[in-house]
């Protein structure tokens, strides 16, 4: 039996890897995705053009605009000449924020009165806008502090010291790469397994498999294991790229990582075969893949954190294998995650793997009859 399964696996791998185009299609896309995602997928905000309208002729207004110039966040500043320019500037997306300082600014401060500046933000880009507004507030806070110091007030003798564990400089790619190792090996595994049955069915070779001495269980294993193998290889390849290519620290245990990766790709192979056993054509299988993949990627906590979701939606994320692997991958890369927390995230994936493989087998056998 083992021999028969092995030869089926060998045949499947050959079918995938023999053709140069399909070899490229398995290796190249993840590499491109890793590169572009790592470089582009950042929620950092920098280099965003802003406008400043300074209608104040005094010293304080000038000093404040200089402070905007001095920060690394704002290196593209456009000076507006009048209030009427604000509308077109924002509407045509020449910039995301306009800081407006009115005529009274210096005079108010010099007369010992509080004053305000206006910040106009483009709501079409609410995330960027919020972060820019955060930068602006911290510039103003510093301005206030320095002003108080100049006026002879002693600075307060308490201070807040922020520190970031696991990623002290908050480098976004330290977050992206461990997440991508999991996400992209999921995609590679899905491409192989979802096609496994549907392709043979479309080409008509599935009937030949059925008349061979292989039992349904053997066929299922022979179809699932190549996906597992490719998922493991892809994972190892991306892991190596992350550690040596991008220099992301790997603090945890390699054995734990590969154990988790193995269970993860087994669960994904189960899902892939399940989709494949339901589809009659390759096209249906691919579209089925999308229907599984999109919610997985969007809800697993990679795009945006799970805790941002409404609480009624959060339980649905428990059936997404990627959710657990993201925690493990980031944890083992950056946090040296201990085995007990890793196992806490492994057992749900085991359940998912058992369930999907069993149902793939069920539907697959139903099609046989």
């Amino acid at each position: 039996m083992i021999n028969r399964i092995l030869s089926l696996i060998w045949k499947e791998l050959l079918a995938v890897l023999r053709d140069r185009r399909s070899r490229i299609s398995i290796l190249l896309p993840p590499l491109i995705q890793l590169l572009i995602f790592t470089e582009a997928a950042t929620l950092d905000v920098k280099n965003v053009p802003i406008g400043i309208l300074n209608r104040d002729n005094g010293e304080q207004g000038f000093e404040l605009t200089q402070r905007f110039h001095g920060t690394p966040f704002f290196n593209r500043i456009v000076y507006l000449k009048g209030v009427e320019e604000i509308g077109p500037f924002i509407d045509n997306q020449k910039g995301v924020m306009v800081v407006s300082i009115d005529e009274q600014f210096s005079r108010n401060l010099d007369h010992n009165q509080s004053t305000a500046i206006q910040v106009i933000l483009d709501g079409r880009k609410s995330n960027t806008a919020q972060i820019l507004s955060g930068y602006t507030i911290s510039i103003i806070e510093q301005f206030n502090k320095d002003y108080a110091f100049k006026a002879g007030l002693k600075p307060p003798n308490t201070q807040i010291f922020p520190r970031f564990w696991y990623n002290p400089n908050l480098l976004y790619y330290w977050y992206n790469i461990p997440s991508l190792v999991a996400t992209l090996s999921m995609l590679a595994c899905l491409v192989v397994t979802t096609q496994a049955i549907a392709r043979e069915r479309e080409l008509g070779t599935f009937d030949q498999l059925l008349v061979s001495p292989l039992t349904p269980f053997e066929i299922l294993m022979g179809k699932a294991l190549p996906g597992v193998l490719i998922g493991m290889l892809e994972g190892a390849f991306l892991l190596a790229m992350g550690i040596w290519g991008f220099q992301v620290p790997f603090t945890g245990s390699l054995a734990l990582f590969f154990l988790s990766q193995f269970i993860f790709v087994t669960a994904i192979s189960g899902v892939g075969l399940f989709i494949s056993s339901l589809s009659a054509t390759q096209q249906q299988a691919m579209l089925g893949t999308f229907v599984f993949m999109l919610p997985s990627v969007l809800l697993a906590g990679f795009a945006t954190p799970i805790e941002n979701m409404p609480s009624w939606l959060q339980p649905f994320t428990y059936i997404i294998p990627l959710r657990y692997m993201l925690v493990i991958s980031k944890g083992i890369f950056l946090k040296a995650m201990p085995a007990d927390i890793v196992f806490h995230n492994i057992w749900p994936m085991i359940l998912i793997a058992l369930f999907t493989l069993a149902s793939a087998g069920f539907f697959f056998r139903k099609r046989l009859q």
Partner: protein, 382 residues
Amino acid sequence: MTQKTRNDKPQWRRLRALIVKESLQIIRDPSTILISVVLPILLLFLYAYGVSLDLNHLRIGLVLEDTAPAARNLAESFTDSRYFDVKIARDRRELTHDITSGAIRGFVVIPSYFTEFLDRKETIAPIQVIGDGSEPNTANFVNNYAQGAFANWMQQEKVSKGLRELPRVDVEQRVWYNEQLESRYFLLSGALAIIMTLIGTLLTALVVSREWERGTMEALIATPVSIGEIVLGKVIPYFILGLISMALCVTLSVFVYGLPFRGSLGALGLVSTAFLFCALALGLMISTLSKSQILSYQIATVTGFLPAYILSGFLFEIYSMPYWIQILTYFIPARYFVQSLQTLFLVGDVWPLILRDIVPMLLIGLLFFWIAGHKTVKRLDG
């Protein structure tokens, strides 16, 4: 000779027959309905609820080593903050496990000597904020909100101690077009771009390469229909399918998810047509280049779907990307589509901006069409 001249001119009757055949194929295949109706509904739902950049409850810890009144006061400004769900501990070791497992996203430490240092004038009483750097965006929010809670406490202290008030500068913030700063308002435009890419590019690429793979394309070519008719016969039904799906999505966004629509339907139609033109042309180009379904799927994902997701600027700010990727985004139709959709939904018909978006889309579409046509003709000659 007469045969040849008949082939060169597109004939409406033959074209109509092809369109009917393709439309029947669309309607009969459940997977096309899946992608053009079910998937948009699912995606809009996911983007409306699942993807959100608006943090409502950050779970953090608070280590209260000092129990004097001043420290308790400070702790209260953290527990009272509407952004935080605070778990209080006496020892920081209790929280290390939680931050490793991801149960909390950071913690604040008020050290045992806090009040003592605060009362002495020459020392600085420190408060430590520790964020989980493995989630950089959330870590930033932890830090920002902690700074906010701390500033509140300082202000209260000043008032209670009757310290001299100095004039200060305040920031009056106004957000145009999206007063509540709802991330849903701009994320849904991105979802629309992704759905249109799936229908326009992925579906077309799959359908045309299936004809090549099964050899039915050669059969079609052998008939008197011209290559132009074949292409039009393929493209027109999917174009209509795309427009229907677009109408469905816009209706759902406005009436179910409460997005405002401040532009005009005419402008929306123009923008969608231009984008679908691009997406279909890309799909055709992919299928003529690859001719196999799996490969087409892979190429469509990398050149159509992923750029629409990452490089269109709806989630990740284009200005913050490295320069070479910024250049790349100019060739991504989704970038223009997302920008004009956001404007149409939230601002209105800003024609200079919309035209600036439509023209590049048309140019990119023409380029893809030209490549696709060029390749197909060559194949027929050879």
